[in-house]
């Protein structure tokens, strides 16, 4: 602070502090606190707000346990609250997206960090970035076209003779959603891993090879442990973004895919019940955070490792 004052003078320092405070308080903290407070209050007609029925309770949060549906998975039939089921599937498919993103990003990150000629690296990074300049909505719709019944993917697969009849990709449960989410968020996995692998001393890879290690052993014992913090931060980002995505599931979702954010959206926009909607939103945030913490504990990653 002393340093800032000396360097920028009083006026500029004050202006910067005020702007940061404005952003943090007015644009982040206040809206969230408002919704958080609302989430504990019932959805009431305007005249009753502040009245005797307007009391704090967990009722909105407990609504996730309402309305059982009968489902069967792996041959086991069970009855489960519909929103819990949606939440479970959202977590499961977000994990699947994270896993596939990792499987795709790790080899590419390793290639970029250790194999490719450093002179062609900027071109490669540019090629990876260009799709990011296109709006997320357009990219989702692009995939909608690609996956369409008479779209290019089916045409290609049939042309190659891999399938005989076109497949309704966007009507196969979560297929469209998973594909869309991977495409949207894979770079969030790629760059942290790239940073991790890139900081590994190439001599260590060579030393391991010189000591007789086959390629998979080098990755398992040297490269993966070293890039664990990068993998962890990439995974957290992809997982959280996927679980919190609304756009991709609403464009690429099928009749049988329901994302938890869509449920929240329905509470907001269809039921106009902002109180329950906020409760669901905070529930998603809380449970995802818990889930990520548990995963980090399981993989022995500390928050401070990721911050690096």
């Amino acid at each position: 602070m002393q340093d800032m004052l000396r360097r920028y003078g009083f006026g500029l320092t004050l202006a910067m502090c005020l702007l940061v405070t404005f952003w943090l308080v007015v644009l982040v903290i206040v809206p969230n606190i408002t919704l958080f407070e609302q989430s504990f209050r019932p959805y009431l007609p305007v005249v009753e707000i502040g009245g005797p029925r307007d009391t704090y309770s967990f009722a909105n949060y407990l609504k996730v346990f309402d309305g059982n549906v009968d489902k069967s998975l792996f041959g086991i039939s069970f009855s489960i609250p519909v929103h819990v089921y949606t939440f479970g599937l959202t977590i499961f498919y977000s994990m699947l997206v994270t896993l596939i993103c990792f499987a795709m990003a790790y080899p590419l990150a390793y290639y970029m960090a250790k194999i490719v000629n450093p002179r062609s690296l900027p071109t490669l990074i540019l090629l990876l970035f260009i799709p990011l300049w296109v709006s997320e909505v357009l990219r989702a719709f692009a995939w909608w076209i690609i996956l369409a019944f008479k779209g290019p993917l089916n045409a290609l697969l049939m042309g190659l003779g891999l399938i005989e009849d076109p497949i309704r990709w966007t009507n196969m449960g979560y297929t469209g959603v998973v594909v869309g989410l991977i495409y949207t968020y894979v770079l969030f996995m790629l760059f942290p891993i790239y940073n991790g692998v890139q900081s590994l001393d190439t001599n260590q890879i060579e030393a391991a090879e010189d000591l007789g290690a086959p390629w998979w052993k080098i990755h398992w014992r040297i490269v993966l442990p070293h890039s664990k913090p990068g993998i962890a931060s990439g995974s957290v980002m992809v997982f959280m973004l996927s679980a919190g995505s609304l756009l991709v599931p609403s464009i690429l979702g099928s009749t049988t895919s329901q994302w938890f954010t869509q449920t929240i959206d329905q509470w907001f926009k269809d039921a106009l019940d902002w109180n329950t909607a906020s409760a669901y939103a905070f529930l998603l945030l809380l449970l995802c955070t818990v889930f990520v913490s548990v995963a980090m504990w399981l993989f022995k990653v500390k928050l401070s490792d990721i911050a690096k």
Partner: protein, 360 residues
């Protein structure tokens, strides 16, 4: 089990740059062989070709008599010690050392026992559970050696492993390395730009410049009988006179320079007459009276005290700058600055040599 290494006409090109040019050397099993040269002379490239990280563009490399063309580093019986050691920071010391055994499928108890045994060999008993970051520079050095020895290589390749250590530790580790080499009997190929290291440790030294091996000989031969000007001036200090060979007979020649005519041993100049005469500062004598031959009148300049010797810088009237070294044992009086004296040298201790062997 140690193996010999033969390089036959080995060349290595990086694009249009020839890093190693026609290297021929035969290293005997159990030998301590050093490649000595300035940075960029191709010595590390030779090491990386032997270990398998680079394939030679031309030529054959044999380890233990077998051509190793196409073999990856993990298939060769060599162990490389990297300049920065490249220890694995996320593994404890014992896992570092036994990594080579781990990849060979040795069980944990045996690996642990082997690691402890090697830690004793490198004088670090009980350090197995420490992490790499807890060790000092010299200790890391020993761990790197132990890790390389664990795979029982036929050949150890060392890429300037002592360059990061301070002087005292470096001298200590020199002796240590030499002792470990004798104890294990493994062939050592040592890369360095430090002539002191190369001379003190090696059975034989290969001096390199600009991708070419200039001379292969034992350390004394390298120092006392360099084959060319590069070897003479890279290994040790020299006073250099440029001039022409006048008459030559039975290995000695008379050599005329702008600073006088001298007699010295004649190196292999081919058909050239123009060459340089090299004489080491410790082989010169300063006296008040001129000797019969090889004496120049000089004016004493700066006198610098180096500890074990005193370097006397002097210049001739014809403009040559010369240095003479006096042992700091009280046997000679240190001349005063500005004094006029004769600097002389024994013809048998001076050589007329061609320039370095480089590509035209």
């Amino acid at each position: 089990m140690s193996a010999g290494i033969d390089l036959e006409n080995v060349c290595c090109d990086f694009g249009t740059f020839r890093a190693v040019d026609n290297a021929n050397v035969s290293i005997k099993p159990g030998e301590f062989f050093s490649f000595l040269g300035p940075s960029g002379c191709g010595k590390t490239t030779i090491l990386r070709m032997v270990s398998g990280f680079i394939e030679p563009t031309e030529g054959v490399i044999r380890i233990g008599g077998k051509d190793v063309k196409g073999q990856r580093p993990n298939q060769r019986p060599t162990a490389l010690i990297f300049q920065n050691l490249a220890l694995f920071p996320l593994m404890p010391i014992w896992e570092n050392i036994s990594f080579g055994l781990e990849v060979r499928g040795v069980d944990k108890a045996t690996r642990r026992a082997k690691a402890e045994e090697l830690l004793k060999l490198v004088d670090l008993p009980g350090a197995g559970d420490k992490m790499v970051s807890q060790l000092s520079g010299g200790q890391k050095q020993r761990v790197a050696i132990a890790r390389a020895l664990a795979v029982e290589p036929s050949v150890m390749l060392l890429d300037e492993p002592l360059s990061a250590l301070d002087l005292k530790l470096r001298q200590h580790m020199r002796a240590e390395l030499r002792a470990i080499q004798r104890r294990t009997g493994v062939t050592f190929i040592y890369i360095t730009h430090d002539q002191g290291e190369a001379l003190a440790m090696s059975d034989r030294v290969g001096v390199m410049s600009q991708g070419r091996i200039q001379q292969i000989a034992d350390p004394r031969e390298i120092y006392n009988n360099p084959v060319n000007g590069f070897v003479a001036s890279f290994v040790g200090e020299n006073n250099i006179f440029e001039g022409e060979v006048q008459t030559a007979a039975s290995g000695m020649a008379s050599f005329s320079t702008p600073h006088g005519t001298f007699r010295a041993r004649l190196g292999d100049l081919g058909d050239k007459k123009h060459a340089k005469l090299y004489v080491r500062p410790e082989h010169t004598l300063l006296s008040t009276a001129a000797t019969v031959e090889n004496a120049v009148l000089v004016t004493i300049g700066d006198v610098s005290f180096e500890g074990n010797f005193i370097a006397v810088h002097a210049s001739t009237e014809s403009g040559a700058h010369l240095t003479s070294e006096i042992r700091n044992d009280g046997s000679a009086t240190v001349p005063e600055k500005g004094a006029r004296m004769f600097m002389s040298f024994d013809p048998a201790r001076a050589s007329i040599l061609p320039d370095a062997n480089v590509r035209a």
